[in-house]
């Protein structure tokens, strides 16, 4: 009896925060869904009901397929660079050397730079075809400088985002490496296992779980990359670096089409859920969920 009453009381006590949190989520989602069924360009009021017209126009927008592909390339590209690079860096940092502490802090610091700031630095100080560092390097070797942001826009964005997220992967993987049993390693070494087999049969299996965490968390954030694109290429040239979030921004704040922006938002939520579903199935086995 007492426990049941306690349960009830507990439920009552936490209900305000639960309800608040639920409302926090449901109300914006609800208004987004509502707006997505309106023909509502804020420049031409009033709004009117259109049914699924916004969804039709969003999905058939000439920018939609390129944006979807760009989003996937961006997510997968950055994931590949950060996990592989992260493992290598973590292995390096795990070794003992002089000045270890400072090097670790330096390696981790890009993660704390705001995306807009890092994008500006990349754009103006590295990738600028006239004054950038890369342009100087190219010229020093007698090569024609590459105008990264207009000829290789998506690759440039991938590089910037990967630079920002590499420390995160390194950090997680480094902590995992530090929990690796050194006696096991020594035993394997004495049995004559080479460093390659030690890496593939001991270290990598030990890291799988952390890699899963890195991939999952990064995917969530990488699907929503925006600041780097906004600051550097503005989605262009053409649609070459437009991803789904940028396309939605373009529709709602460049074309002022609130209805279509909302429809795009709903579709982005659906896409994120599909990606999450496959990701969970693919890597979820490693996590005891």
């Amino acid at each position: 009896m007492a426990t049941q009453r306690a349960h009830k009381a507990a439920r009552l006590m936490i209900s305000p925060s639960v309800i608040l949190l639920l409302a926090w989520m449901i109300i914006p989602l609800g208004t987004t869904i509502y707006f997505s069924f309106l023909r509502y360009n804020i420049l031409t009021p009033p709004a009117s009901w259109t049914g699924f017209e916004n969804y039709y126009y969003f999905l058939t927008d000439p920018a939609f397929i390129p944006a979807l592909v760009n989003t996937l390339v961006l997510v997968l590209g950055v994931l590949a660079i950060t996990t592989i690079g992260g493992i290598l860096l973590a292995l390096l940092l795990n070794m003992e050397f002089w000045g270890q502490g400072i090097v670790r802090i330096l390696v981790i610091s890009p993660f704390f730079v705001m995306p807009t700031v890092s994008a500006l630095v990349w754009k103006n100080m590295f990738m600028n075809p006239v004054n950038g560092l890369f342009a100087h390097l190219f010229r020093a070797f007698g090569l024609q400088p590459v105008d990264f942001l207009s000829t290789l826009p998506l690759l440039s964005i991938v590089i910037m985002v990967a630079w920002a997220w590499l420390p995160f992967a390194t950090l997680i993987l480094l902590t995992a490496l530090q929990s690796l049993d050194s006696e096991q390693m020594e035993a394997a070494e004495m049995d004559g296992a080479g460093w390659l087999s030690r890496f593939f049969y001991l270290t990598l299996p030990h890291l799988t779980r952390s890699i899963t965490v890195v991939v999952l968390i990064q995917t969530i954030f990488l699907l929503a990359v925006f600041a780097e694109i906004y600051v550097t290429t503005a989605g262009g040239p053409g649609y070459a670096s437009t991803n789904i979030p940028f396309l939605i921004y373009n529709l709602s704040l460049k074309q002022f089409d609130a209805g279509m922006g909302a429809a795009g938002g709903v579709i982005a939520v659906i896409i994120a859920n599909i990606v999450a579903f496959f990701l969970m199935r693919a890597v979820g086995k490693n996590l005891e969920l």
């Binding site: 360009n41 031409t44 126009y57 704040l253 074309q255 002022f256």
Partner: protein
Amino acid sequence: MTTTFRILMGATALCASAGLAAAQDVTLTVATVNNGDMIRMQGLTGEFEAAHPDIKIEWVTLEENVLREKVTTDIATNGGQYDVMTIGTYEVPIWGKQDWLKPLEMSAEYDVDDLLPAIREALSVDGTLYAAPFYGESAMVMYRTDLMEAAGLEMPEEPTWDFIRQAAEAMHDPDSGVYGICLRGKAGWGENMALLTSMANSFGGKWFDAEWVPQFDQPAWNEAMSFYVDVMGNYGPPGASSNGFNENLALFQTGKCGMWYDATVAAGFVTNPDDSTVADKVGFAQAPSAEGGQKANWLWAWSLAIPASSENPEAAQTFIEWATSKGYTELVAENEGWLAVPPGTRTSLYENPEYTEVAPFAEMTLAAINSANPGSPTVDEVPYVGAQYVAIPEFQGIATTIGQLFSAAVTGQTSVEEALTAAQATATREMRRAGYPK
């Protein structure tokens, strides 16, 4: 009546009187563009506040594209964040018609009839003025007289596109850091699309025919685009697809451009020895045309307007009258010289010998503004107004997308034909969706 209640009543009364006292000191939030003339106005805020001690000015200075985003969402959602907005000739007729702006009734001292007729007309809806011009501009060619001479060419007063290509080729010398021609390449309806729409007009093209059918599949657009992509690729600076007005201005001022076809307002900056290394070597010519046809002119005026949602319309009007008055012009002239005054809004400025003496481009600017004809901008009849834009609400969205497509053509990622086909498809789609012909 309990004591508590009495105390509460007293507190309310106090609050009310405090509110009244605060109402006498007005803070105006002014949203504006980060162009040179506006930055200068910002610097002179102190003068205005000294003359009107009860009004304080708070500036929100933004890059053109961001400004447009902010003020448009604010005015369309009745947000009321700003008391004075800097908007252009594109927005004024649309917003005025929607009753989103307060009509302006200027005092006699302001002398409304002194405004240049073309500019005044562009800022009025059915004869009512909805915004006051801060500076006005058309387009013209600025070129380096020394490089022209070295190339053995002479710029005619009204050049043709063929001559522009020839001159660009002759002056192009990338090894010594001089590029033949600088043109806007940055995507945006107020950036590359302003230039390209004017260019297409001069080649005989147009955005829509009488039935509102998009015309990007017509030969005139192909001609204009091919010319543009060709000269930008062969005689333009590297990274041209990200150069807007300000980037090109910096390039020209540091002597990296042989020619620059852009807004007339730039003339004041490139001839100002404080900012420009080539100040004494700049010549001017009218906007180019295709073999004696229509000139690639445009008409624009950055103007100050009061949104209907402003809570301080009287103070806002006071500020606008100050910032666009003859007195302001004189104030700038006193502080920074006649070259720095905002051009292109008042007849009296062009009749002032003090100005015409120091500004070799004055006559050219006035001629360009007077010859711009946003009322009937194209060779053929069209159902819209606007020289480098189309004054319908849908234009912004369509032109932003098309601007992106055209900047991809400049980088060579797509061909001119592909860009135009995509532009035609986008425009057709959006116009059908918006329900044209209306």
